[in-house]
Symmetry: C2
Subunit: 472 residues, 2 copies
Amino acid sequence: MGSAADAAGSAVDPTVLEALAAVVGAEHVTGGATAAAELSDYAHDEALSIAAQPPAAVVRPGSTAEVSAILRLAAGRRLPVTARGTGTGLSGAAIPRPDGLVVSFERMNRILEIDTENHVAVVQPGVTLAQLDEATAAHGLSYPVYPGENGASLGGNVATNAGGMRAVRYGVTRQQVQGLEAVLPTGEVVRTGGKLAKASTGYDLTQLIIGSEGTLALVTEATLRLYPRHPHQATVLAPFTGVDEVAAAVPKIVASGIGPLVLEYIDALTMAAITQAQELDLGICEQVRESTQAYLLVMLDNAVADRLDEDVQRLGEHLVSLGAADAYVLPGPAARRLVDAREKAFWTAKAIGAQEVVDVVVPRAAMPEFLRRARDIAERHGSFVAGCGHAGDGNVHLSVFETDPQVRYRLLRELFEAGMKLGGLISGEHGVGRTKKRYFTELTDPVNLDLMRRIKHAFDPAGILNPGVLLD
Amino acid sequence: MGSAADAAGSAVDPTVLEALAAVVGAEHVTGGATAAAELSDYAHDEALSIAAQPPAAVVRPGSTAEVSAILRLAAGRRLPVTARGTGTGLSGAAIPRPDGLVVSFERMNRILEIDTENHVAVVQPGVTLAQLDEATAAHGLSYPVYPGENGASLGGNVATNAGGMRAVRYGVTRQQVQGLEAVLPTGEVVRTGGKLAKASTGYDLTQLIIGSEGTLALVTEATLRLYPRHPHQATVLAPFTGVDEVAAAVPKIVASGIGPLVLEYIDALTMAAITQAQELDLGICEQVRESTQAYLLVMLDNAVADRLDEDVQRLGEHLVSLGAADAYVLPGPAARRLVDAREKAFWTAKAIGAQEVVDVVVPRAAMPEFLRRARDIAERHGSFVAGCGHAGDGNVHLSVFETDPQVRYRLLRELFEAGMKLGGLISGEHGVGRTKKRYFTELTDPVNLDLMRRIKHAFDPAGILNPGVLLD
């Protein structure tokens, strides 16, 4: 939603602003009657269908000690606190409370170390994926999480357990984070894990904080696993007559041992929209295009050029034997533009008027059944859904076109229920945030919810961290 | 310790035995005055340096509903409960309380499903690694965690976050578990995750239960990730003049993109002990053997035979350029026997009189420094340490030879402190259990310990699950 919907933040107690200024310096605090325009910059993330909400104040710490002091101050005054990276989240977890603080990590944006012996990076939460990619490339290493928005911050990635296209090979954020430094709502600083590939020394606090959407602790440093960067890449696009055929092909491609880097499906409508938006001609003849319901996009990489060529050959034959109309090896520039267009699918959906974007995750073999049920549900409501997704992971991204909020609520609830009945969950990588909280709390087993509430209470008995996100 | 040290379990209230019998059938309950011999089978795991302790009673449930009923009963009577798989743990986490119950999962030993579409196995906790390996092999798939004891149960593996030699390629248990069914100390059944490669839908209860050593919930079902089984394997053994040289070689081998399946170091003494114990002649000439302080054991595998041969060639050249005296490609039978001997290193250490075995984990580049400090610490106490370890993971397995318990306590405490000062933790894969609890609670930051205690309380306010393990 645009700034037109911004509600003014509550009037903030001037002594709060003074106390914050004493911690971080007055130039790093925004608040008060004259700051409305600046505060509105911190009023939203990229979530659709939810009103922006400016906070009472924004504070930009420069160090862990400052974050700790801010949280002690907030705890003492029972002020709600919402952490913010670069604001690219899709579920509203960075939308603050009108009476609360935004702790923006924009100044804590340093890569503290690229450790080439242990193959880890140590980063502050405000570091972006693009920044980390550039720094690791210089060492022939890479951080493999590509959630489709390279302006996203690592702090935000940790908070939502971000995934993306390469998760089929490398796993999601959860698999990359070896250690954290985080500040508890009491102001205490906790260090978990380390430059360690493994541990069995008490409860895994690292894993518990990952994906907790700013409700348990504020991450001030993350130790991330790096991998050798493979120099050779190839991209293959295979048109199929239906999503069932795509889904049936996926386990066979994985089992073949080719080890794809990316394994995405894109439905025909989404392909048309994203190629049109990017003015991209893939050179697929009209006849094939007309009989295609879904595309499989496969990327391979290898340290050895010859092996990549062999694998591309094998993959192509395999795809055709699995029912693909053809297997197009895309030239480098077209491949890059298509992957880029796929990454921007969210923006295309937004541009053509989608009211909501969801990312239900199901067992990957259940993907066609889920898509069938999703189409049926949408049709029954006179609505429309289309999408693409991480076929190797069963993570289905659907754009939902339905302007009536009441109808949309019922439609989304039925979509989530359909995914859960197939053994899935509401979100694979976007998180619950504010946009899906109602569905999450209505549809999740009360035993799980109660346990999560008790865990929340164990970290944050006063409930100051991101109230209204994930749980009530 | 042997059965000579067994203390008798407390006399058990006969109404408890009757109530348990009503749940699982009398033939699946052991307890009472005449059962001492049977109870002593459940009095220990494989931990050294800790007295066996028979429980008051043993109950062998056949289903999740029975586990739930047992926990309701235990909660009502405030009976301590210790879960037991096959009793192969090394830290005493399966040693019960004299006034408590052992819940043995020996009857819940079925593989419920091998799902070849989603590449997952669904298993009960009593299933062993050997059983799962056989079942997955039939489908060309494999479960990659090999902690060196194929008789270990999956329930136990989940409880300690088991690792093993292949973790350098595939990660540890934590990376394989996609979902759990578990029973809370209230008897409530919680289902977490699913056949899902990823999720961002609330706190990750799956990850929190993994590695919690039976103190948070009893796992009754696990959904495990499977991988294509590569048909071609090769094993290369490289002698080095020092551990420093081994440790320096490790990141370079990882960065080369060869992607080793196994990357182990074995010190000269341990190599002599395990090859002698297994009557294994590796054909390494005496001159090389005498100048060798440490061996690097590398296993490669591939779906394509030619690629494996090329990689072995490249690896051999690489190892020699990194300072190895030579690179021996071991013939299949010798390779299998050496890996087997390495897996049995614990038994060899026990046989030659080690009083304790530890598995400190450090950043892998800190391994030589840790080993130097460990030798110094041992020397200062007039003691002796030797070992081997997962070089790719920085997980150092040391056998400790020191008969005086007071000296051993100081020595172990200094070893753990040395590891922690280098950024490590007390245990990489064995767990804290009972044997390392004192060190863990003395050396861990109180902020972390308090948080863990609050999490324990959130799951188990009455404290009936494995009291005395991990935390007090």
